[in-house]
Subunit: 218 residues, 2 copies
C-alpha cells in the first residue's frame, strides 16, 4: 500500500521525467513538491526500498515498472474525477485541480471503474489530456494546438492551454466549448489568424486563440 505522501512523490517523478522514464534530479522534485532536497532524498530512499523507483546516490531517480503503473493509476483517477467535476457538478476547467488532487487518492477499484462507466468511458479530461484505461494504456490520438491543424480539416475542441478567465469568457461568447466541432477554413499568413467554421458560423480567430486551444482529430 502506498501512502498519500508516497503517491505525491511518484506523481511528481512521473510528470517531471517524461512519464517516469527519464532520470529526475532531487532538486527538481523538491521544487515541484515545494519541499527541501533533504526530504526528497529521504523519501526517494524509502520508495527505492519499496521498488517503486530506481535510485543511485547522486544520479537522480526514475520510476520502476511498478512505479509507472502506480503513477498512471493516479493520473487515471485524477482525470476521471476532473471529468466528473466539470460534466456533472458544474465546475469550470480551472476550478477542478485542487479537488481532483484530493479525490485521486481515494482507494477503491470499484469506485473508479463505476465512475468511468458513469461518465461513459471518457478518453480525455477537460484539459484535453488523455485518460489511461484500466490497464494503463493511453489513447493514441494526442491533442494538438488548433494552429497546427491543416486547412479543410475538422477537429474537436478538447481543452485550453491559457485558462485565464478572460480567455474562457471569449470562448464562451463565441460558443466554443468542450466537444465543439471546428473546421479550419483558411489561414492568413499575414497575421497568423485563421478562419474557422464552428456551429455553422464562420469566425476569424487570432494567433493567440489558435495557439491556446487544444483540439483532436476525428
Amino acid at each position: 500500500m502506498t501512502t498519500l505522501t508516497e503517491e505525491n512523490y511518484i506523481k511528481a517523478i512521473y510528470h517531471l521525467g517524461k512519464h517516469g522514464t527519464e532520470n529526475v534530479s532531487t532538486n527538481a522534485i523538491a521544487q515541484e513538491m515545494d519541499t527541501k532536497a533533504s526530504s526528497v532524498t529521504d523519501m526517494v530512499k524509502k520508495l527505492a526500498e519499496k521498488d517503486l523507483v530506481n535510485y543511485k546516490k547522486y544520479q537522480g531517480v526514475s520510476l520502476t515498472q511498478t512505479g509507472v503503473l502506480t503513477a498512471v493509476n493516479i493520473v487515471r483517477k485524477h482525470r476521471l474525477w476532473e471529468v466528473f467535476l466539470v460534466n456533472k457538478l458544474n465546475f469550470s476547467w480551472d476550478e477542478v485541480h485542487d479537488v481532483a488532487e484530493q479525490l485521486e487518492h481515494i482507494k477503491s477499484p470499484k469506485l473508479i471503474d463505476e465512475l468511468d462507466a458513469f461518465l461513459d468511458f471518457p478518453t480525455h479530461d477537460p484539459h484535453g489530456d488523455p485518460i489511461p484505461d484500466k490497464d494503463g494504456h493511453f489513447s493514441k490520438l494526442d491533442k494538438v494546438k488548433l494552429s497546427k491543424v491543416a486547412v479543410n480539416t475538422t477537429c474537436t475542441c478538447v481543452g485550453v492551454d491559457d485558462s485565464s478567465s478572460d480567455f474562457l469568457k471569449y470562448l464562451d461568447k463565441h460558443n466554443i466549448a468542450l466537444g465543439s466541432k471546428i473546421k479550419v477554413m483558411a489561414t492568413e499568413p499575414f497575421d497568423e489568424s485563421i478562419t474557422i467554421l464552428i456551429n455553422g458560423v464562420h469566425l476569424s480567430v487570432s494567433k493567440h486563440v489558435s495557439n491556446n486551444l487544444f483540439v483532436r482529430a476525428n
Copy 2:
C-alpha cells in the same frame, strides 16, 4: 483546519455520545476507534486546545458547538457520498461504507453543495439515516421499523438494519427497494407477521423482515 485523524475522533465522539452532547469515556472512544486509551487521552487534549471538545481529566469528553458543527458536516458529506455511490455508481447498501469513510474527508464546500444539487437534495441516505442540510439541520421525520407502523398506513422504504446479502436478496426477490411504497394491511398477533401491499401485490412478511426494514411516514 482539522486533520483526518482529528475528524475521525470527532466523528466517534459524536456517534457515541448522542450527537456529541453526552459525555463519552476514554475507553469507549478507544474501542470505537480501535486504538489505546492513552492515544485517546493525547488526542482529546489536542482537540480541547482547538476548542472542539469539552474535557476535564477523568470526566470524559463531549463536543463543543464547533465540534458538533464539524461532526455534522462530516456526517453530511458521508451520507451524500453514500447516496451518490448507491444511486449513481451501482454500489449496494453494504458496499458503500468504506469508500464513504474516505470521501467524507475531502475538503471543498463547492464540491459538496454541487453534489447535493446533483443528487436532487436527498433527505436520507441509503440506510434511511437523515442527511443534515448546509446549516446542519436534520429532517424532522425519522425512520422507524416497519413493525412499528400502524395498520392502514402507507410509508416509504428507506433502509435496512440487517444488511446481510441473504436479506437483501429476499428484498430484491419481492421487489422491495429503496423508495418502495408499502401499505400495512394487517398484523398477525399469532407469529407477529404482517401483511403489506407493495407494488399492488399483497405480501406476508415475517417478524424478522418487519423488524429489519426501515420506513418513513409520507
